[in-house]
């Protein structure tokens, strides 16, 4: 009953309002500021400061936000790289002006102080994004500036664009600037480029050239330029469909991408010859158009991106910006065509890789003038390389996804590329020009994915085989060359062994030991050489060094035997005593330790000498010579020691093994 009275109702309403307002006021009064470390894009660490309040234990950003990241590179470049993202939040949503800047600055100019702070002028580069947010959506002017800074003042502007966003969608007019070009355009209410887009290219002096692109609600339908008399002249793009004007139906809507602009580049521009001359040729015209394309790419393709990341998404609080879209006719490939195009690109790359490796092998170049095979194949590969270079743009074009946005058939029709192979090849071998033929593939007259594929497969296989043949020829030739030198040495060594042990040189030092070993060594040498000579090239390469070493071992035995012979004389002298004969009044020599010496002379030395020549190979000759050496050393040693007991034991005749045992051999 009480609540029905009007006065009471007013009180209740006032009570509720006051309660709510009080709660709001209490909430508003606990605004905090956070200053600390944070990460932008989850990877760029820096310092952040923002204002916030707590609501139900949640942090609600509200107020100024500033993130800064600076890296000093004093040692490397004496510069500072910095990122800064700043703006305002309202209830966790970006609201108001926001900016993102990337700076690369170096200290330059004079130093000054502000209060107790030291200040330097700086020079470098600055990339600046400015926009307005409204409740988390881009709304308002949007500018991108890329400029040079000189002594803390803006100097050259490399890129500038001003656009407008409304509720997250680009709309309205656009202004832009790049060195040598000014741009103006507009977008329709749906965010498509629309109407005339004017590109004013600065020519030499005060002259300029006006390029006009007409977009029909996103569809690039006309391309003009203004002539010297103000007339509009159309630029036709072969392959780039500009016929459909409605912007509906068969057109494909897609975000502006690099593929879209590549498609534009692929289309051939057709214009009158006289007009071409006005631009000093088609290439100059293409240059201006490419400039314009570059501006459009920078502007339309992800205008919020920095290093492939959206600058505004580094911190939450805003919607992702919608991509700027365009409309284009799509000339889709069939699945088979797509696979063929990809295959063609792969085959082209692999073939080029083979050619590159072959041409960059120094051995190819050093052998092509002396080796017939290499010379001919080199010419063949050169032909292939030239042909592939000619057809590569087509293959790359067809494999590019952008080619679906142009009428690739039309473009190929207007592409004057054919692959014709010569019937005869000429190459030079040792200053002589030689002509030869090679089974090239059939000439390629029509350019389709299928015909190109067939042709490329043939070329790839042929190149692959040729590369293998060239490598083999080079290896064989080099191997043969290296082998020839080595074989000369081998034969010389063999002859040396023969001359030494046959005493063809009438060496005074040739002795009985050489004579004893002569037949065995000559036989072994001949056997080794014959075994080597019967091998094929690869085995010869493998074995020539060991064969040479073997013969060298035999040759090295010659001076060893001279030494042994000398030592035999020494032993003979050591075991000889000079005695005065009182009857003849002369000194006479008598053998000391005669039994021992007799065993050495009659039994042991002949045994070891025979052993030297028995079953002699280069692997055991050193061992046999070592045994002889041991015997000689033993005899020399026994001369100096008491051998009474030994001589007693040598009184009776024994077999060779007993003698060896007695002497410890």
């Amino acid at each position: 009953m009480i609540l029905t009275r009007p006065g009471h109702q007013v009180c209740i309403i006032l009570f509720l309002l006051i309660t709510l307002w009080t709660r709001y006021l209490s909430a508003q009064s606990t605004l905090h500021t956070y200053k600390g470390k944070a990460a932008l894009f989850d990877s760029v660490s820096g310092k952040v400061s923002y204002q916030y309040f707590l609501q139900n234990k949640d942090t609600i950003k509200n107020g100024d936000y500033l993130f800064q990241h600076f890296v000093e590179y004093y040692k490397e470049t004496d510069s500072i790289h910095g990122l800064e993202l700043g703006g305002k939040f309202v209830q966790n949503l970006k609201h108001g002006p926001w900016h993102f800047t990337s700076k690369q600055l170096s200290i330059s100019g004079n130093v000054s102080t502000i209060g107790t702070k030291i200040q330097y002028d700086a020079s470098g580069k600055e990339l600046l994004y400015n926009t307005q947010f409204q409740n988390g959506k881009v709304n308002g002017p949007y500018t991108i500036t890329d400029r040079h800074i000189e002594e803390s003042q803006p100097a050259d502007t490399q890129f500038f664009v001003r656009m407008n966003y409304q509720d997250g969608l680009i709309t309205g007019s656009l202004e832009g600037f790049m060195p040598g070009m000014k741009v103006s355009g507009q977008f329709d209410k749906d965010g498509f480029p629309d109407g005339d887009w004017i590109f004013l290219h600065q020519l030499s002096g005060d002259k300029s050239w006006k390029e006009i692109r007409f977009y029909d609600h996103g569809f690039f339908s006309r391309h003009y330029y203004e002539g010297p008399n103000g007339q509009l002249n159309e630029l036709k793009h072969i392959g780039f469909d500009t016929l459909i004007k409605s912007g509906k139906g068969l057109l494909t809507r897609l975000p502006a991408s690099t593929a879209y602009f590549r498609a534009l580049d692929y289309s051939n521009i057709v214009m009158n010859v006289s007009e071409e001359k006005a631009f000093a040729g088609k290439n100059q015209l293409q240059h201006y158009i490419s400039n314009a394309n570059a501006f459009m790419q920078k502007t339309l393709i992800a205008p919020e991106q920095y290093n492939k990341k959206s600058v505004w998404q580094g911190v939450e609080g805003s919607d992702k910006m919608s991509p700027i879209r365009v409309k284009v006719s799509k000339f889709s490939y069939t699945e088979q065509e797509r696979l063929l195009n990809e295959d063609n690109k792969r085959i082209l790359d692999e073939t080029n890789s083979l050619l590159y490796n072959c041409f960059n092998n120094s051995n190819t170049h050093t052998n092509r003038y002396i080796n017939r095979d290499v010379g001919l194949f080199y010419e063949v590969l050169t032909v292939y390389s030239r042909q592939l270079a000619g057809v590569a743009p087509v293959i790359n074009f067809l494999a590019d996804s952008a080619s679906e946005y142009v009428n690739h058939y039309e473009i190929l029709k207007h592409t004057p590329i054919t692959l014709n192979y010569p019937e005869k090849l000429k190459y030079v071998i040792q200053d002589t020009v030689v002509a030869a033929s090679h089974p090239f593939p059939e000439n390629l007259q029509t350019l389709t994915s299928e015909s190109i594929n067939k042709h490329l497969n043939f070329v790839f296989e042929d190149v692959r085989k040729i590369v293998i043949l060239i490598e083999k020829a080079i290896v064989n030739y080099q191997a043969q060359g290296a082998l020839s030198i080595k074989e000369d040495r081998l034969i010389a060594m063999k002859d040396s062994v023969i001359h030494l042990f046959s005493n063809q040189l009438a060496d005074k030092k040739y002795n009985e030991l050489h004579a004893a070993l002569k037949d065995s060594i000559l036989q072994a040498s001949e056997h080794i050489f014959q075994k080597y000579a019967q091998k094929d090239l690869l085995k010869k390469l493998r074995d020539i060094d060991s064969t040479y070493a073997c013969l060298e071992t035999f040759a090295a035995a010659y001076p060893t035997l001279i030494e042994y012979h000398n030592r035999l004389h020494e032993i003979d002298e050591e075991y000889t005593r000079s005695v005065w004969n009182p009857y003849t009044y002369t000194y006479m020599e008598e053998r000391v330790k005669s039994r021992l010496y007799t065993v050495f002379e009659k039994e042991l030395f002949p045994y070891f000498k025979n052993n030297l020549s028995r079953a002699l190979t280069c692997h055991n000759i050193n061992q046999k010579l070592g045994a002889m050496d041991t015997l000689l050393k033993k005899m020399q040693k026994l001369r100096m020691v008491d051998t009474k007991e030994l001589e007693k034991q040598l009184r009776r005749k024994r077999n060779i093994d007993e003698y060896l045992t007695l002497l410890g051999l």
């Binding site: 005695v579 005065w580 004969n581 002369t586 006479m588 020599e589 008598e590």
Partner: protein
């Protein structure tokens, strides 16, 4: 007076003796029939020090008789010893003694003693010199001998012998004298004698003694040869002996020095 007469008589006798003797001297020399003999010698030289050798020789000599030539009966046994001093490699001197046993010329005859002794003192001077690959030797030997005949009434006599021998060693199958060498020795010796009893036979013996030798090793060698000798007989100088003697000799040398002493000196000029 008696003394005077005795002296004249003696004078006449002695003056006449040569006439009488001269009336018995033949007009030419007489060479006795050749006799034969065989001499086997053992020569030992033992080195005592670097310079001193003990020279020991033993000879066994036989002569031919009516039944058997060369070795019919015993003739002499020699023992000759001396100490030799090697002055250098080309000259040595020796001094020693000899005791010779002379056997009876007529075994069984009681008028002859079976064995008589003959002592001697001898000294020798040996010169050696190389000649190409051979050696040439000049040996001067002087002996002082006391001898007596085997006859029972024989009297002692003293004589001096003056001997000069020239011989060579010529290697035949080796480049020099060395073990294994066969060598040839041309050898001639002349032996003169003096003494009271040597009246007209100063030439005791002239020997030509070629031989062949073989050197087994520096310590052992062997020779064999034939010697012809001729000389004047003591009783009558016009009567000459003539002998053919087979000779064999064994030569042995030994070094009796301690081993350390045997290290030969360095011979720079070999």
């Amino acid at each position: 007076m008696n003394r005077y007469i005795y002296t004249v008589v003696i004078f006449i006798i002695t003056s006449a003796a040569p006439l009488v003797y001269g009336q018995n001297r033949p007009g030419k020399s007489i060479v006795n029939a050749p006799t034969t003999g065989m001499w086997n010698g053992f020569y030992g030289k033992f080195r005592l020090t670097n310079k001193i050798f003990w020279d020991a020789q033993f000879h066994y000599r036989r002569v031919g008789d009516d039944q058997l030539d060369y070795v019919g009966r015993m003739a002499q046994i020699y023992n000759r010893h001396a100490l030799s001093y090697l002055v250098n490699n080309r000259f040595s001197v020796s001094l020693g003694g000899v005791l010779r046993l002379n056997f009876t010329p007529e075994p069984g005859n009681s008028n002859f003693r079976n064995v008589v002794l003959e002592p001697r003192i001898w000294h020798e001077y040996l010169f050696a010199m190389p000649l190409w690959n051979s050696m040439v030797y000049h040996r001067v030997r002087i002996e002082h001998r006391w001898s007596v005949g085997n006859a029972t009434d024989a009297e002692w006599m003293f004589r001096n012998r003056w001997r000069y021998k020239f011989y060579m060693n010529i290697p035949l199958n080796k480049p020099r004298l060395m073990p294994g060498a066969l060598y040839f020795t041309p050898d001639i010796e002349i032996i003169m004698q003096t003494g009271a009893r040597v009246i007209d036979s100063p030439l005791e013996d002239f020997r030509v003694n070629p031989s062949l030798g073989y050197i087994f090793n520096p310590n052992v060698k062997f020779t064999a040869g034939v010697m012809y000798t001729t000389g004047q007989t003591l009783s009558a100088g016009y009567v000459y002996t003539s002998r053919w003697i087979l000779r064999t000799n064994l030569y042995i040398s030994m070094d009796l020095r301690k081993k350390q002493a045997r290290i030969p000196s360095t011979r720079f000029f070999d």
